[in-house]
Symmetry: C2
Subunit: 220 residues, 2 copies
DNA sequence: CGAACATTCAATCTATCAATTGAATATCGG
DNA sequence: CCGATATTCAATTGATAGATTGAATGTTCG
């Protein structure tokens, strides 16, 4: 006979798969796009063997699937909702855990110092885009941009920011985005562009959150 | 300096707190209402000492808070969104883990055998209530009902079902609800009432989910 | 077919988690 | 203040997770 506790134990199995920083890093990378083990390992700063083990655990928990493509195993998230799950976890943690708030404000300290404005919410961004008021800037590396991006976004990888300023409009406000709320790329971009006199703000989330919310994306 | 990994490690801390069946049982009980350690321990079928330890962990993860009331410590969820988090975890697990699906269908096997209809979604239920088409039946114990319930619900604890049939309207369809999707009370109630010739269906969620969705509740 | 490559498996060691026990602390009623 | 009640703390033991190593598997390419 099945008891309620069996169900909760199985649910706990899934939660436990989320209970490790390295695995969360792997999931964050997978939220960008599917990828091979080597890519994932280097994104999460793990050895290949170790990354593989963690990926097995995620697989057992039903969070990722793998399929072979030639010599490589391509991993992907099983479910778009996993991005929502991570987002909600983040919200709950930020609201209720002092340590979390401390770390976040530390990561964003430079923003505050430079007088950067509030980040733009997806609701605001959507409205501003419809009115044609803002230009979208994707500062992720080119391969991630190509795997999917917000419609109409210009891609200038952070490393080439100064070299590619010509692609940016000077007359509009710019909204920069990258991988997600904890990704440093857009923070950095906003700071540097502000120094150069651009009107620019950060999108508070990133590409995966936008997509998981069911908003339109350009995909290959 | 703060790295992104520090943030993920801290997030993992919260996820790890969810990674244990007993702690999930405690959280499910807390989703009904705040409660003292002894109540929680018996709801989760744990010794007092063990329950206390698990509650400490939940506290460290920022998921619950405790306040003293006389001799007792009253625990409560820190955040309504924790119910949403558990709900989303459940959805992801049910969709992607075969084992989970197996357990759920096993738990609901009797429903299928008795030809019970699909459960009612909260959207449907809300609409039917507005049109006055259905009567709401809360089959939880009286103390949980008193700590909060759906507006207009009649409370008949499952144990007194046959004794209190007089409280139920015979002319309307009845929707029964209890603690949540995995709670057996409303399943049992539906089966027994159907045998007696009532038109009755189950609400697919329970009181906590209804409340966490921001829908109206009657509270003391 | 066999070498090179990408990944997984098996075995090991250490660190952390879960349950239990008994002592310690805080509050209440008399 | 004292004894009863509710809970937490500290210490112990067995179980499980994480990292590392090297061998094993499956795939491509010459």
């Amino acid at each position: 006979m099945t008891s309620q506790q069996d169900l909760l134990d199985t649910l706990a199995l899934v939660a436990r798969a989320l209970g490790n920083g390295h695995r969360l890093a792997l999931l964050e990378r997978l939220a960008q796009s599917s990828a091979a083990v080597e890519t994932l390992a280097s994104a999460a700063d793990l050895s290949i063997g170790n990354a593989s083990q963690h990926l097995q655990q995620l697989r057992r928990a039903g969070l990722v699937t793998a399929s072979r493509s030639g010599k490589q195993m391509i991993y992907r998230l099983t479910d778009e909702r996993i991005v929502n799950l991570l987002g909600l976890l983040r919200q709950v943690a930020e609201t209720n855990l002092a340590e979390m708030e401390r770390l976040v404000s530390q990561l964003f300290a430079e923003d505050d110092a430079s007088g950067a404005l509030e980040a733009v919410s997806s609701r605001e961004l959507l409205a501003a885009l419809e009115r044609g008021e803002v230009a979208l800037l994707d500062v992720r590396p080119a391969d991630e941009y190509q795997a999917g991006h917000l419609p109409g976004a210009i891609n200038i990888p952070l490393k080439q920011l100064e070299a590619m300023l010509g692609d940016l409009p000077r007359d509009k406000e710019i909204v920069a985005y990258c991988r997600g709320p904890y990704c440093a790329l857009s923070h950095e971009a906003v700071q540097r562009l502000r120094q150069l006199g651009y009107r620019v703000r950060r999108f508070e989330d990133g590409f995966p959150e936008w997509k998981a919310a069911g908003l339109p994306v350009s995909q290959p």
